[in-house]
Symmetry: C2
Subunit: 274 residues, 2 copies
Amino acid sequence: MAHHCYFNGTILPADETRIHITDLGLLRGYGLFDYFRTYNGKPFQWDWYWERYTTSAALLGIPNPIAKETAQRIVHELIERSGLSDCAIRFVLTGGYAADSISMTQPNLLIISEDIHPVAEPEYLTGIKVMTYDFVRDIPTIKSIDYKHLMILQPQLKSIGAADVLFHHEGRISELSRSNVFIVQNGKLITPHRDILFGITRKTVLALADGVIPVEERDISLVECCTADEVFTTSTTKKVLPITQIDDHVIGTGKIGPVTQTLLEKINLMVDKW
Amino acid sequence: MAHHCYFNGTILPADETRIHITDLGLLRGYGLFDYFRTYNGKPFQWDWYWERYTTSAALLGIPNPIAKETAQRIVHELIERSGLSDCAIRFVLTGGYAADSISMTQPNLLIISEDIHPVAEPEYLTGIKVMTYDFVRDIPTIKSIDYKHLMILQPQLKSIGAADVLFHHEGRISELSRSNVFIVQNGKLITPHRDILFGITRKTVLALADGVIPVEERDISLVECCTADEVFTTSTTKKVLPITQIDDHVIGTGKIGPVTQTLLEKINLMVDKW
């Protein structure tokens, strides 16, 4: 649930925040977002998320209308108003209103405080099932609002009991719909390095793996992924979550593996002390 | 400019119509639209547009919430309220509101009356310039709201004086950002048959060409297009509009060609009597 929303200068209850129908996000899919959460009331990896938000905006050609310090002040006010010990924050930046339905004049920026939807604890032990899907996200380095493929696939995911899709194309895997993917094979931690959104939790995990296990950022074939010792996914809400089934292939023991376990403990320790 | 807007059961001035920020069109790019205009106050090719709208909805997995007869009644009321002799009508259908920002419950349907933005008459003689761009629209048979590539390219188009992009991929052309493409070569009218949105004006022109010139629907290479005798584009607002320059290549005489002229006259005659 959304709590409060900053919209072009004003903070209102999210329930009361509405956007005019000529918004280019709505009419032309011309928008991006970013999403982070707090731990102990403090935004996690704020500098990195801010950097990614401004990079997305630059790549999409939407001028970012707000200074970092102002954004930070708004985020803190939203956290305070939420009344929660921890909450999630969503930035949504669109091309703004267009009377002719196509020409950008001034962007619209929304900053929304929301409930966190954490992964249920047992899922960290059992892991999740994913469904393979031949696709590369359109301009994957941008955190655009374009999730039409995932939305179309939702009934199918539900029917087979899969939690998400694993995108692959021309034999290579890239990412899940909203998270990155890692494999553990022959004592190495490996993650794709292209055709992906560069996740902040991905970056955090790569840093946490330093000194624990050798790391490679490179292409991973779908076959290599399906036959890996361990597979896991990383995201803001999922942290380090095992993937224990890909279509009909069970990964490893079908439970969380030792490297995944170690990295999950490390990130849990990190966020506890954030 | 938008005039009035039907939104889930109510017609209001478009100025006053706002959508809540949890709409999946806005948050997840999960939406489609359709767009048609009236001639002599009557919706042009209404049956065909309705069919395409419902097809898009089915392909995108968004349940169409309205019966054809109801939609038709609303469209007529919007036309009447616009007070204009002719207007454009835009349907926008999204995945609706999602408290969790991802799960569809009930779609949102907007039906908006708008000003028509016709092509300036001299452009029918001089034609337009287009810029080639290597791309295939994502799920091209759906009239989704996804126009991010066009939006990103707009400054570049403006700087080189191009009116639109011509999408091509692996040597084949497909369409413009919001319209179809035809070429005339060796006394034949040829238009791509795949990786396109099947335009209603495309369909109308194919019918009008019957008996005038042999027609082929097939792959067209970019080279074939650039060396064609005539090239034109078709859309709801453009009707039959010559393309006289592709990047640096001038097409034919650099003015409207005889087949384009004939088809433009035929569609003008048709809409005059609509």
